[in-house]
């Protein structure tokens, strides 16, 4: 990060050519204009998100196969999840997606204070999600549902309930890891927003972080029914 402040690299990073005015700041020298630069950013981010799609898609496909093979055990395992906490977290994530979308809008309209506030709100919603996730994990630990040496479960389906909880912790774990990274990313954006790096002409980092955050929300939109709601009927008594 520190080389950003060197005079030579600063000229390269801002695209400042000797015969060009300084206010072209954010335009990198290898792009014709901001429109081309912004589309390149969006395409690059989407390409990254497609690799993420295949990453989460691979785990979800494996889950689909084993749930098909051991349906009763997976339904029994899912019935131990707390639908209320899962629903609460789903709602919290939708709030965080709204504040993220509005943060991009605030950046587009050059409203710096609003941008900083909305980014912090998104981080707080994300943090609340992780706290609830932590509470759930603690409950699972106390109940002996954490896979591995300390897994404890009575019943004829114990082996494959164990498998279900392996999927549960893998899927929610990598999702939570993505949220931790997103929140860290946003902390950096809050600092940059506060010092006035973004505005009408340049807000690509905010928009790209938004794409990432919404993607992580979409992953949860699928994890919630696949894990929590699957056992909801059984838990409700039918």
């Amino acid at each position: 990060m520190s080389q950003q402040h060197g005079p030579v690299t600063a000229a390269v990073m801002t695209g400042t050519m000797p015969d060009m005015p300084d206010h072209d700041g954010p335009l990198q020298h290898h792009f014709d204009d901001m429109a081309q630069q912004n589309e390149s950013s969006a395409l690059g981010m989407w390409l990254f998100l497609l690799t993420e799609l295949m990453f989460f898609g691979g785990v979800m496909t494996a889950y689909a196969v084993y749930r098909y093979l051991f349906n009763a055990a997976f339904a029994e395992g899912a019935s131990h999840l707390d639908v209320r906490l899962g629903t609460t977290n789903t709602i919290i994530l939708i709030f965080s997606s709204l504040t993220m979308a509005l943060a991009v809008r605030a950046a587009q309209m050059d409203k710096r204070k609003l941008l900083v506030g909305l980014l912090i709100a998104t981080m707080l919603f994300g943090g609340a999600f992780l706290v609830i996730k932590g509470i759930e994990y603690a409950h699972k630990w106390e109940a002996g549902h954490v896979p591995g040496a300390y897994f404890h479960y009575e019943g004829p389906l114990a082996n494959h309930v164990h498998l279900f909880f392996s999927f549960y912790f893998t899927m929610t774990g990598i999702h939570a890891l993505h949220m931790v990274l997103g929140i860290g990313w946003m902390a950096w954006l809050v600092l940059r927003s506060a010092r006035g790096d973004f505005g009408v002409g340049y807000y690509a980092p905010i928009e790209m972080t938004g794409l990432y955050w919404h993607f992580v929300d979409i992953v949860w939109i699928f994890l919630f029914p696949l894990l929590y709601l699957f056992g909801a009927g059984a838990a409700a008594g039918h």
Partner: protein, 124 residues
């Protein structure tokens, strides 16, 4: 294409009401999916998972098109998104299709009939 260039030049600022509408729809579909999961569908209990995935897909589409701005994106962005979904469909479709198909009972009569009907040695 001039439309694309213009849209990128002066960023498309989505009205606040659009974001709030999408937010409200996401909330409605969240309540709907929990409600559907809790009701007893009787002999149609197997519909729980398809319905839950359908609602999740609708929610994801809302997020992709409006929150992620794909609705206002260039054609190349659309190509990227559709290509990603196509690859995911291959991954899920072929893998799950394989495992589901493995339990299907083979029909020896159909196999025999088709073998009787075509003598490949004579065709050659």
């Amino acid at each position: 294409m001039s439309h694309d260039a213009h849209a990128a030049d002066s960023p498309h600022i989505v009205p606040l009401s659009v974001y709030l509408t999408i937010f409200a729809l996401l909330m409605v579909f969240t309540v709907l999916t929990v409600w559907v999961a809790l009701i007893d569908l009787g002999p149609y209990g197997w519909l729980h998972t398809p319905l839950a995935l359908l609602i999740a897909s609708v929610k994801a589409t809302l997020v992709v098109l409006w929150f992620m701005h794909v609705k206002y994106g260039s054609r190349l962005v659309w190509v990227f998104v559709v290509a990603g979904l196509a690859w995911l469909a291959l991954l899920v479709g072929i893998t799950v299709g394989d495992y589901v198909g493995r339990t299907w009972e083979p029909d020896p009569h159909a196999w025999q009939a088709s073998a009787d009907g075509a003598d490949f040695r004579q065709l050659g």
